[in-house]
């Protein structure tokens, strides 16, 4: 039970994923929401690498993990640009205040 196997990594990943979701849902600040998203992406990555290691897939999982990292970088850049723009437009970064979708 205590000897580390595939399940341990999966559990870490699941916890990290849940924490990310929690961050996304509860925090008001858009930047904090972004941090939650990063956590979620990291947990997915752990899964990829773990399966790559324990499953018989060669390095394919790692390659995809690498792609996810690149995607995350691109996503962060764009998301922060959007946040800056939102801030300029509404003078506000709290996502719960920005509910123009409602109208």
């Amino acid at each position: 039970m205590l000897t580390v196997g595939l399940n341990h990594f999966l559990v870490i990943s699941a916890v990290l994923f849940s924490l990310g979701i929690y961050g996304i849902v509860t925090r008001k600040n858009a930047v904090m929401v972004l941090m939650g998203i990063e956590l979620v992406l990291n947990s997915a990555n752990i899964n990829f690498v773990a399966f790559s290691h324990y499953g018989n897939f060669g390095l394919n999982g790692q390659a995809i993990a690498l792609f996810v990292i690149v995607l995350a970088a691109a996503e962060a850049a764009i998301a922060l640009a959007i946040v800056l723009n939102v801030y300029k437009t509404f003078a506000e970064v709290n996502v719960d205040e920005i509910d123009h979708l409602k109208e």
Partner: protein, 697 residues
């Protein structure tokens, strides 16, 4: 130079004019002087075709170079076997000679047009059209299969339509363009059917593959009659394009196009295509088909020559002379004088182009006067035009030392042999008669235009020699009408390189029983030895030797007689043409009105079509419209019914559902907070519910 390089150069030759066309047509308006690009392109293709011709004729003299690739592969349906449709080039001696002829004349026409068409409002477009015309013709020349030939055949039809109707504001020009297009289509239907007969039997379009199968004894539907039919039907395409009787009517009308275009159409591109096709299918023609072809050619030659006697429009005379000469070539194929048919095609191309460009030069300087009764005395004003015109006229009349004599004499000797060996004496008689008529009407034209006193002084005073770019092509073409380019012996073409070395009559592939006696090889052994090159029977060779001098002297005599009569009538005024015309009024009218053929077509084919159309119109008006109107009434009734249904039932349902969804929407609106985070919470709960539901663990 390797064979593949030769093929590559040929591909470049084919597509350069197309490049010129697209460039000029798309950018001609933006870039001034772009037409020079088209001219330069043609110059380049001319240069390349000279190289190709030189290499082919000197290195690969006896070898056909073929390059093909599979265009469409139609699998292997058991009933059909594998059908592979190939596109490709076949480069043999006649191909390269034609390449040179087409490109040279096209280039000279381009150069000539620079001055002739100056000031036209669609100047650049004109050059673009010349480009696509050349491209189409080169495609016909280079192809190794019937399909590609048919495609380019139709492209030639299209580009001739564009060029004949170039001045489409003139009704006569647009009518002439339509006429050329439609009349050609009639011939093309025959060609299409012929191609289909061959394709149905052999599943290939490639010439050589078809001929191989015929030579192996594989006849369409097992009957020689079908082979004859295929030959005649494909030849119908040539009847249309080469303006053979009875489809020759489009060609004189095509004079409505600009004069350099006439030169291009009548010397090198369009009408030559028909003869070229006949040359290509020569080996699969049966004796019956050849007889039909010979008769068609002879009739054409005679009809056109008699019409040309009385025409007064300088271009009309030349047009009918073209028809007549084409009749000669076709007749020549019909009598088996293959080499001389092609030789005449080449020599005729040069001197006829010269004549047309010369007439263009005259028309240009006379401010678009085309009636020779208003000309005269231009010899002094336009010496270059006069002398080149004279040389070409001597050539076409069959005077020794000029190219026309060589080829025409060969054809006449061929007909004479044919008459002697088969008993069809009418064909050589017509051939010789036409030779005399040709000499007469050509010199009538020369004398009326250039000799004597000017009849319209006002126009005469303004006449002037054409500038250099118009005169130079004339000189080039006139020089090429001299015998020395073809043979060192001015009375015996067989001593020269064109007939002696380059053009070899190919072996017939048709079954022996369908050939003329004289087309059969002397023995089975000989047949096996000389595969690829026909050796006529010993009898034929002997008769040919016998016919050489009689034919030559007879044709010389007739040409001299024709020229003499022309001088008597028009130069020395010893005889009065008008009085003779009055005496033979019936014949004169018959000739002047072109045998009333146009009227005959109007009365029969066109009136018949109109009649048929009016019957169809009646049918449309009463029966078809009746059905349509009836169905309209029914439709209106049913529409009323459905209208009521729509208004009360469907609309009611729609309104009710709209009300319902509005109500539901209002109630659920509260869930829509507009906050993404709330939605995510919903999503999380939804996933949880789904997990509970499916229990994946």
């Amino acid at each position: 130079m390797s064979e593949s390089l030769l093929i590559n150069i040929s591909i470049v030759i084919l597509f350069l004019p197309l490049l010129g066309f697209t460039t000029v047509i798309f950018f001609g308006k933006k870039i001034p002087k772009l037409y020079m690009f088209e001219v330069a392109v043609l110059g380049l293709t001319l240069l390349l075709s000279i190289i190709v011709a030189y290499v082919k004729l000197s290195i690969y003299d006896t070898k056909d170079i073929i390059a093909a690739f599979t265009w469409i592969s139609m699998g292997n349906a058991p009933a059909l076997g594998g059908i592979n449709i190939e596109l490709g080039f076949k480069i043999d001696n006649i191909t390269v000679i034609m390449l040179f002829v087409v490109n040279l004349i096209s280039f000279l026409v381009h150069v000539f047009s620079i001055e002739y068409m100056r000031g036209d409002k669609r100047y650049t477009r004109y050059f673009a059209y010349l480009g696509i015309f050349t491209f189409s013709m080169l495609g016909i020349v280079l192809t190794h299969n019937l399909l590609m030939m048919y495609i380019f055949w139709e492209l030639v039809g299209l580009s001739s339509y564009l060029l004949i109707g170039f001045w489409y504001e003139k009704k006569s020009a647009s009518d002439a363009a339509k006429k050329a297009f439609i009349v050609n289509r009639i011939g093309d239907i025959g060609m299409f059917l012929g191609i289909l007969i061959l394709f149905t039997q052999y599943h290939t379009f490639t010439f050589d593959a078809i001929y191989e199968q015929i030579a192996a004894g594989n006849i369409p539907f097992g009957s020689n009659a079908w082979l004859t039919a295929a030959g005649i039907l494909i030849f119908m395409g040539a009847v249309g394009k080469s303006a053979q009787f009875p489809l020759h009517v489009w060609l004189p009308d095509a004079m409505e196009g600009p004069t350099p275009v006439s030169a291009l159409i009548h010397a090198a591109t369009m009408v030559a295509a028909g003869v070229y096709l006949a040359v290509r299918i020569f080996v699969m023609l049966t004796a019956d088909a050849m007889l039909v072809i010979a008769v068609v050619g002879a009739v054409t030659a005679l009809v056109a020559a008699t019409i040309a006697l009385t025409q007064n429009d300088i271009k009309k005379v030349l047009a009918y002379s073209t028809v007549s000469q084409l009749g000669y070539m076709v007749m020549s194929i019909g009598v088996g004088a293959y080499a001389f048919a092609f030789f005449h095609l080449v020599t005729h191309a040069f001197f006829k182009a010269c004549l047309f460009l010369g007439s263009g030069s005259v028309i240009h300087s006379m401010h678009h006067e085309q009636d020779i009764r208003n000309m005269g005395g231009l010899k002094k004003k336009m010496p270059i035009t006069y002398y080149t015109f004279l040389i070409s006229s001597l050539a076409i009349s069959g005077v020794p030392l000029f190219s026309g004599f060589l080829s025409k004499d060969g054809i006449l000797a061929g007909t004479l042999v044919f008459g002697k060996l088969t008993g069809h004496w009418l064909i050589p008689i017509i051939g010789f008669a036409v030779a005399g008529l040709t000499a007469f009407y050509m010199f009538r034209l020369v004398i009326m235009t250039f000799h004597g006193e000017p009849r319209d002084h006002h126009k005469y005073d303004h006449a002037h020699e054409s500038p250099f770019v118009m005169a130079a092509p004339l000189v080039v073409l006139a020089v090429l009408s001299v015998f020395i380019w073809y043979t060192p012996n001015p009375i015996n073409p067989s001593a020269g390189w064109v007939i002696g070395d380059w053009i070899k009559t190919p072996a017939q592939v048709t079954p022996l029983e369908t050939r003329y006696e004289f087309m059969k090889p002397s023995s089975e052994a000989a047949k096996a030895e000389v595969h690829g090159e026909v050796i006529h029977s010993v009898e034929y060779t002997e008769t040919m030797h016998w016919a050489h001098y009689p034919a030559m002297f007879l044709s010389l005599f007739l040409a001299g007689l024709g020229i003499l009569v022309a001088f008597l009538f028009y130069q020395w005024k010893k005889l009065n043409a008008d009085k003779l015309a009055e005496k033979l009024q019936g014949l004169y009218k018959f000739s002047l009105n072109k045998w009333f053929l146009d009227e005959l077509y109007d009365l029969t084919a066109i009136a018949g079509t109109l009649r048929f159309s009016s019957i169809l119109a009646w049918f449309d008006n009463t029966i078809v419209d009746g059905i349509v109107n009836g169905s309209a009434t029914v439709t209106r009734f049913t529409s009323r019914m459905s209208n009521w249904f729509d208004t009360y039932i469907v609309d009611g349902a729609v309104n009710f559902s709209a009300f319902l969804s509005g109500f539901v929407g209002l109630s659920f609106r509260r869930l829509q907070t507009g906050k993404v985070q709330t939605y995510i919470v919903f999503v999380v709960f939804a996933i949880i519910i789904l997990l509970m539901f499916f229990k994946p663990f």
